[in-house]
Amino acid sequence: MSISRDDVLRWMELFAAAVAEHRAELVALDTAIGDGDHGTNMDRGMRKALERLGASEQADAGAALKTVAMALISSVGGAAGPLYGTLFLQMGSALAGNPEIELADYAQAWRKGLEGVQARGKAQPGDKTMVDALIPGVEALERASDLSDGLRAAAQAAETGMKATIPLVARKGRASYLGERSRDHQDPGATSTYYLFEAAAAALAG
């Protein structure tokens, strides 16, 4: 079983739908420890991404992910624009020209994306950021031997990572200004990252 360009388009549609559906939740999480714009910004960005995906033929899955990246970079702003933009740009580069993406290719693309996010945002595990959902998700994919099982395991691991941000004290982004007061809140970036893995499982797992 492999992943096609159309599978990736479906994944992006589901992610956009999840962001739209959870827009208010992401805003509420971000209002508690940030500046309250995460849901609004990601929703605006993913709507723009779908618009651009629909506007022209995407050569392959990698090209589609790069289109999403450029849409996010040029429409989101904040920290989420560069971070998600970098994630999709790195994944897109890793998958460019590959018509039949196998589990190992897909896991490697996520690894490249993770590295890009960490290079851009300088976040370490435990800083209470999207990285805390990203790392366990990527590692679950890398451990898997079957694509469908791996996708479901990754979504589960990302969810666990997202929930594990609740007791953490933020060390990056606006939440870090809160210090101790950032405890007992779930990180909004880790939450949207979980939705990305969840959308991948829904779109790509057989």
Binding site: V27, T31, D35, G36, D37, T40, N41, R44, I73, S74, S75, V76, G77, G78, A79, A80, G81, P82, L83, G85, R120, G121, R171, K172, G173, R174, S176, Y177, L178, G179, R181
Partner: protein, 333 residues
């Protein structure tokens, strides 16, 4: 939520239309990507200066575009940093061959988007220097935070660097001057009320009717502590003490004192605060040689103020005094 808007999502575009209608004789407003550019840009041989940041802080930055200050400003959505393509376009639009300065307030999103703009700009052959402002003493500057926020000193950096650029100082000289202004400036703010972003429709934080928050950020980021509202003299003391302790301002220093309104505070109250600032400065032997009083870096309709002290040197004073002609700040022009 009651606001003078048409739709929450259209606020920034609608504001830009108003800006164009009002100031189209001196600035060029572009909508995609959004930017406000000096009408005579690029000025040949002059260092270009651009800044940008989330909207909701007006007149900063768009209101400071014009001779003697910024060459271009890139507005983001409300409280959201602008995107790299905006800054990359603005950089090209203002490059008069002498290089371009990016004035960046130290916020995670602003820093990352300006970084990406600089990367996109590589290969365009434009020399870019970044001045990062981080003057908010309310934030502990450590490895475990995003670092101090850029607040009031940003206005002073933009004015003083703008003056130096008009004087045809080099890119390195303007950048060095701007960094010196940032290094010698300290700020702290407070809020009487939160603000409401149009997109969320809810207050950015909760504050009881009789409470104030000391050390607030310009996006409603939490401050150092809350307390019962006291007289203006107490508020001024709460803000001035950490500022004075942070940079060794010493007796005999010449300073610029900037009392800034957060958007919803009337000028009468800012003057009440300024009287206290002047008193405290005198007690410490500081000579206030220049001042600025008004709402220049705001937080939507938030009530409150911030105080910025800048230790002046001769060069800073000269370029502070230089002519400026922008919608938000104007003298000798």
């Amino acid at each position: 939520m009651k606001k003078l808007i048409n739709t929450p999502d259209g606020v920034v575009q609608d504001e830009l239309h108003g800006f164009q209608a009002a100031h189209g004789d001196r600035v060029r407003v572009s909508f995609d990507p959004a930017m406000i550019v000096r009408i005579d840009a690029p000025v040949k041989g002059k260092v270009g200066i651009i800044s940008g940041g989330g909207s909701g802080h007006e007149p900063m930055h768009g209101g400071f575009v014009g001779p003697g200050m910024l060459d271009a400003a890139c507005p983001g959505e409300v409280f959201t940093s602008p995107t790299p393509d905006q800054m990359a376009e603005a950089t090209k639009a203002v490059d008069g061959g002498a290089g371009v300065i990016h004035v960046v307030k130290n916020y995670t999103g602003d820093v990352m988007n300006f970084d990406m703009a600089a990367e996109l700009g590589k290969g365009e052959g434009i020399e870019v220097e970044t001045i990062l402002t981080n003057d908010d003493v309310a934030v502990e500057d450590s490895l475990y935070t995003a670092g101090r926020r850029g607040v009031g000193v940003t206005v002073l950096v933009e004015k003083i660097c703008g003056g130096a650029a008009e004087d045809r100082r080099s890119l390195q000289q303007v950048a060095e001057l701007g960094r010196r202004v940032n290094a010698n400036g300290r700020s702290m703010g407070m809020a009487l009320t939160p603000c409401i972003t149009p997109a969320s429709g809810n207050p950015s934080f909760e504050l009881a009717d009789d409470e104030v928050e000391i050390g607030i950020g310009i996006h409603g980021e939490p401050g150092r502590f809350r307390e019962k509202v006291g007289p203006a003299s107490q508020v001024a003391e709460r803000l001035m003490t950490p500022i004075l302790e942070d940079l060794p301002f010493s007796s005999g220093d010449r300073v610029l004192a900037f009392v800034n309104g957060m958007g919803g505070t009337p000028l009468i109250e800012l003057y009440v605060v300024y009287a206290e600032v002047a008193k405290i400065a005198q007690q410490h032997g500081l000579r206030i040689e220049r001042n600025l009083i008004g709402s220049y870096i705001t937080s939507l309709e938030m009530q409150g103020c911030s105080i910025t002290l800048l230790k002046l040197d001769e060069e800073m004073t000269r370029y502070w005094d230089a002519p400026v002609n922008t919608p938000g700040l104007r003298w000798k022009a």
